[in-house]
């Protein structure tokens, strides 16, 4: 099993399973950037592993900072909001250095949160997540 990592966090119950991820454009866009001589700055941010999220999400500043364009749109709903538009972006999540996943993530406003991205079930579909509350750790493996 590759990409095993155990993460000890200060307060797993309070903060949830947070880890650092690097977010890049997908390879097709990186190739376009390379051919144009365009550079981009990978976005290294805290991400929440959220089994309650069907899709991975990023703060809307991240696609802007990467300089990538939208490739879709969907709507979000919650207990208090419905019909809220959200653009979709094609990005690469790099987790644990060697776990690379291209996903079509949604964007939203993460201001005030201790994380700037959510690792949803589209990424977790290829992972094993072990939440060990009594040791205040979680393990995410590929």
């Amino acid at each position: 099993m590759a990409g095993i990592s155990r993460w000890g966090v200060t307060d797993l119950q309070q903060n949830g399973p947070l880890l650092q991820v690097a977010i890049h454009p997908v390879k097709a866009i990186r190739d376009i950037f390379a051919s144009e001589g365009t550079t981009y700055q990978p976005q290294t941010v805290s991400a929440l592993v959220d089994t309650g999220a069907s899709h991975s999400m990023v703060d809307r500043s991240i696609p802007q900072n990467l300089g990538i364009s939208t490739v879709g749109e969907t709507t979000l709903w919650s207990a208090t909001h419905s019909d809220v538009p959200s653009q979709m972006f094609d990005v690469t999540f790099i987790i644990l250095a060697d776990f690379v996943k291209e996903v079509q993530c949604l964007e939203s406003d993460f201001s005030g949160r201790p994380f700037m991205a959510i690792i949803g079930r589209d990424i977790l579909a290829g992972c094993v997540l072990v939440y060990t509350g009594w040791t205040n750790t979680f393990t995410l493996s590929q």
């Binding site: 709507t75 979000l76 809220v84």
Partner: protein
Amino acid sequence: MEYPRNRGIAGLRHSQNSYVTSFRPCVYTDGMSENNVLSDEIETFNANKDHLLVEASGKYALVIGSEVVGTYVSERDALTEGYKRVGNKPFLVKKIIQFDNPVALPVSLTL
């Protein structure tokens, strides 16, 4: 019968028209801005949806501007073709299904 637009998913599923034809958002919440970058593409998709459902249900449509470029078995194939045609410019890749499934906003972003 008219249903309020902000009744949530239950209201949407029971609206008279298909969900996609009533796609344009009417509720904007704090910090969530209107995004109409793809308004032409969405309009084009909706205008062609009936025949796309007949010809390519379950596939992914690639829409650029007012043109349905093609349909693809995989989402990645549609994205690849989109990048090939317009590069890093906005385009729409959308699954061809009768009703969209709105995505539940994670609780971690709502509390």
